[in-house]
Symmetry: C2
């Protein structure tokens, strides 16, 4: 694990690390915010944040405006890249597939299967790495994300509730089996058999898994330019059927970008603080 | 004035406008954050923020993390670009001169004089434009900035105290006549006569102008990689001689970047709120 960059920030440190990933078979970077408490060696709660299409491990640190509240709450924030990258890694035909668009699943189709193992990367490899390397309270780890990363957060939380004790999302892709982005990604990465897709679709998963969390928080802008890709109503219906409490907040005039995310970031961090303490 | 972009943000709007500037003789962009109060037509205090070398009108909105507190205080934030830009505008040999490096002065030397009129642009043209177009309380306008823009904020406040009623800076170039960045810029834009430079050097200006502000706030990181360019001690000495109160805060471990700026942004906005109300 190599330290690429470190900047003092709200009495903590915003860092970027690089390491050779076994699951991605390439070098990968992640960002981490360590509050002052962590720098002093105190065990802290931690949140994984999964970013959306085209983003990198640095997007969150620059644009999401989370460090102030994370410093106040004593949260460690971990931000993986959104896919494997590099010349040896397959590229897509467009920004919604391939590099920058890993969808947080393990690909089984060629040419993706060799490197695109983002589910194992986040939930197993990076999870184990940061818990071993940083002072994280293993009982207080949550996950959140945006758009494609909101899909990632919801699905990984539902798949690994023993690892992620709280979950929230900004404008998540709630039912990837039923929107163009998801259909394209799942066809490329998983193949044409749509029954396989259900294990990676939050709206479908919540029905098969049932209620696992005390609450799930989702914020959604009503001027979101990608609203038709997101299907929050399908997730709400599925939560009702499953008996899963969902706090779905819809906000007039907000769009899909980080000006929306920063506006509600404090609420998400405080939501996780409450969930992880209960 | 053309609206280029608008994003809902903390119940206000973060916008970018473009307009044909008379002083710059080219089209120029500026960013503006309008809090909810301004969108409702209420007169608001306003701050101009001048960014540093290589930055644009968008850097502040993305990286400075100011909108949350600005929304709370009801501040309008105006962020000009750092120079004229375009194919018809002279380019420099390096990132510290020419486009992205206007130094907030009016150039008199060729090839710069035609477009590089950043002092007139900010203090006259853009100032008049935003006061005419947005609900700004003309008695409550302040200025702040970072690095080259900290130099800009200090010098424009000292030159135009009737326009800017409060001033603060992050890691400003305090004595450009006495550092490599400033010497290069002033030689290019103003010529070799160093007596001319004194009118555009904060440490020199404060001595000729005397005490004009109730207080000036400067934050400076002590791990700033450009510390040798900044000379806060010279400005402090000059303030003492001039009888100008200065709150110079030095912060261990912080560097020159926006992770430093965001860490102390709330303090600056609150400082201006106090100054502009008194």
């Amino acid at each position: 694990m190599q330290l690429v960059q470190s900047n003092q920030c709200f009495q903590g440190e915003q860092r970027i690390y690089s390491f050779d990933s076994v699951s991605l078979k390439t070098s990968s970077r992640f960002g981490i915010f360590l509050p002052e408490q962590a720098l002093k060696g105190q065990d802290c709660p931690a949140l994984f944040y999964l970013a959306g299409l085209t983003c990198t491990e640095e997007t969150f640190a620059i644009k999401a405006h989370a460090q102030r509240m994370a410093a106040q709450l004593g949260f460690i924030l971990i931000t993986p890249d959104t896919s494997p990258r590099g010349d040896e890694v397959a590229k897509g035909d467009h920004w919604d597939i391939g590099q920058g668009a890993g969808f947080y699943i393990n690909a089984v189709q060629e040419p993706w299967a060799e490197h695109f193992q983002m589910e194992s990367f986040v939930a197993d490899e990076l999870y184990a790495l940061v818990l071993a390397q940083f002072p994280i309270c293993s009982e207080q780890v949550g996950i959140f994300g945006h758009s494609m990363g909101g899909h990632g957060a919801l699905t990984l939380a539902l798949k690994y509730p023993e690892k992620f004790k709280s979950v929230s999302a900004f404008a998540p892709i709630c039912a990837p089996s039923q929107c163009p982005w998801g259909e394209k990604a799942f066809t490329h990465y998983l193949g044409a058999d749509q029954t396989v897709w259900q294990a990676h679709d939050a709206a479908a998963l919540i029905q098969s898994k049932g209620a696992l969390f005390q609450d799930i928080l989702i914020d959604q802008g009503l001027s979101d330019q990608f609203y038709s890709q997101l299907n929050p109503a399908l997730f709400r219906e599925a939560c009702i059927k499953a008996g899963q409490k969902l706090t779905l907040r819809e906000h007039e005039a907000y769009d899909h970008g980080y000006y929306f995310i920063q506006s509600f970031m404090d609420d998400h961090l405080q939501f996780h603080a409450v969930q992880l303490q209960s």
